[in-house]
């Protein structure tokens, strides 16, 4: 978490008015960049991360020592080729990788902000990241790209700044968090808050961490990122390091052991309060409500080209919800392409090695870049 990170960071001095009514200023945004910005500044791609992602899109994540969360997509000779594109990714506000969040130290008290941190929204996240784009002096991004919560930020970004991106690629996302999405997020939050070490969000004051609660939240969420078929094929009823059932509550099954492991590694890298705040921001996301129930109006001003992608086995942000975005865009004559990619890997497909996804995404981005550049000449 925050403590030992040596990360690129800027301090945003402009006051930012949050949806909750509060105002923040002089707050940090941590970010990372890959590749080089060309002299015309026409090759910049802003990548938005998902719920538990961070600014370390590609290469080695210096905190976890694992590959960046989108290493299949971003990097040298990858679909978003950093030999060609300048890729920017910022940690969202509310996060725990250096941007302003509940684990940021309040300088006047010397303690973490905890649940005194204001409630933030996807809109607030995007507005904060726009300050980074201004700081980098990029007049117009070539593309904004993201999956899941990153996709929601893509939609919000083009809504807020209709002339700041030539291309928008929202992947496996929704324009409005469904009851099922909210339900799963609430389950995770309740698990954290039920942990006696949560201490109403001020656990760091007591040198505690609600690890148990956060791990359960992660385990439950992790199931929603996979598909029933994928789980069955990978784990079935296979037993973990044993030949027969033990008639107890140890992890007899491989799937149990897998989920426990996922929970335990997660707590080492993620702040429980950040999990509460970010899931809340997702739940509050309802782009059509921001436009009085008409999603098309959100995009009315847009000149951006859109490419919407969903996955067959994603039941968390199913194709039908992605299609609603396409329909809204078509109904105002926007330039939108759409494909549902065949995959058994569930919602997580956008993070994984799904060759037809990687190929289509890469080819599309590259040929569109070429077309847009040719037109300019």
């Amino acid at each position: 978490m925050n403590k030992n990170i040596d990360t690129k960071k800027i301090i945003i001095s402009n006051p930012l008015k949050l949806d909750c009514g509060k105002e923040i200023n002089n707050f940090p945004i941590a970010y990372e960049t890959y590749g080089e910005l060309n002299s015309e500044k026409s090759n910049a791609i802003l990548v938005f991360h998902a719920l538990t992602g961070d600014q370390y899109v590609s290469g080695k994540n210096p905190i976890t020592n694992k590959d960046g969360w989108w290493s299949y997509v971003v990097g040298e000779n990858k679909p978003i080729d950093t030999n060609k594109f300048f890729v920017i990714c910022a940690n969202v506000i509310g996060g725990c990788m250096g941007s302003y969040g509940p684990s940021t130290i309040n300088e006047s008290t010397g303690k973490q902000i905890g649940t005194d941190f204001p409630i933030i929204t996807i809109n607030d996240m995007v507005n904060a990241q726009y300050e980074l784009i201004k700081y980098l002096e990029i007049e117009k991004l070539f593309a904004v790209v993201g999956g899941s919560m990153g996709g929601m930020q893509v939609l919000q970004f083009v809504t807020n700044f209709p002339d700041k991106a030539k291309l928008a690629i929202p992947i496996a996302c929704t324009s409005s968090h469904s009851a099922q999405n909210i339900a799963f997020n609430e389950l995770g939050r309740q698990a954290i808050m039920a942990d006696s070490k949560w201490e109403n969000g001020f656990y760091s004051n007591y040198k505690l961490n609600p690890d148990k609660g956060l791990a359960v939240a992660r385990m439950a969420a992790h199931i929603t990122y996979l598909s029933e078929k994928g789980l069955q094929e990978k784990f079935g009823r296979k037993l973990q390091d044993r030949d027969s059932l033990r008639y107890g509550f140890e992890a007899d099954f491989q799937i149990e052991s897998y989920l426990r492991y996922q929970g335990s590694v997660f707590v080492d890298r993620f702040d429980a309060n950040s999990y509460l705040y970010i899931t809340r921001a997702m739940d509050y996301f309802d782009l059509s409500k921001q436009y009085k129930g008409n999603l098309s109006d959100a995009f009315k001003e847009t000149k951006t080209k859109f490419f919407v992608i969903s996955f067959t086995s994603d039941w968390l942000y199913p194709t039908s919800e992605n299609r609603e975005i396409v329909i809204a865009l078509n109904s105002i004559g926007a330039d939108v392409g759409f494909v549902e990619i065949e995959s058994d890997k569930g919602h997580d497909s956008f993070l994984l090695d799904v060759p037809s996804f990687l190929k289509t995404l890469g080819d599309y981005i590259n040929s569109t870049y070429k077309v847009i550049n040719e037109r300019r000449i």
Binding site: N330, D335, V336, G337, V339, I341, D363, V371
Partner: protein
Amino acid sequence: MKEEFNIISNLIEENTRVLDVGCGNGDLMKFLQENKTKDIRGLEISKEKVQNCLSKGLTVIEGNAESDLKQFPKSSFDYVILSQTLQAFLNPELVINELLKVGKKVIVTIPNFGYWRVRLQLLFKGTMPVTENLPHEWYNTPNLHMCTIKDFYNFCSSKNIKIFKSIALKKSRISEINKSNLDYKNLDSHLGIFLIES
């Protein structure tokens, strides 16, 4: 193929908005993009073909014309093209109506089941026709509603659909279809191309 593309392209005015329904791998879209207009979209039901189009940078939506044309506003395209696909729909009449709503003008091309080579196969061989243009066997054909140039011509007049232009194609020979030569063109052409409006 090339002749059909040329004819379609000649029916379209420059820099107009075009939708290609059942755009396949995007060959016609590419052709029109290079020759007529940049503002062209596609609708295609096959995932694989949609991915091929997107890989070429073409704006294509995965979807089914019978259910997904509704999402486009009325008259949102100057031209909607349906190239050799009408016969594959469950309900061709519904699709034509949807096309006429979405497009100010509609271009429909029809593999002609009335072509003499097709007729001869049924007459002399007694088997369902298989030709270069209609390569499938009866048991695996995607074509549910084959029709002839004359069928489509009569369909348009019975439904009060205006035919602006109707063109017959045989090999690479192009000719106009009119009321008086309809029976002959119906016998001697492998493809009919219609520019229509509601």
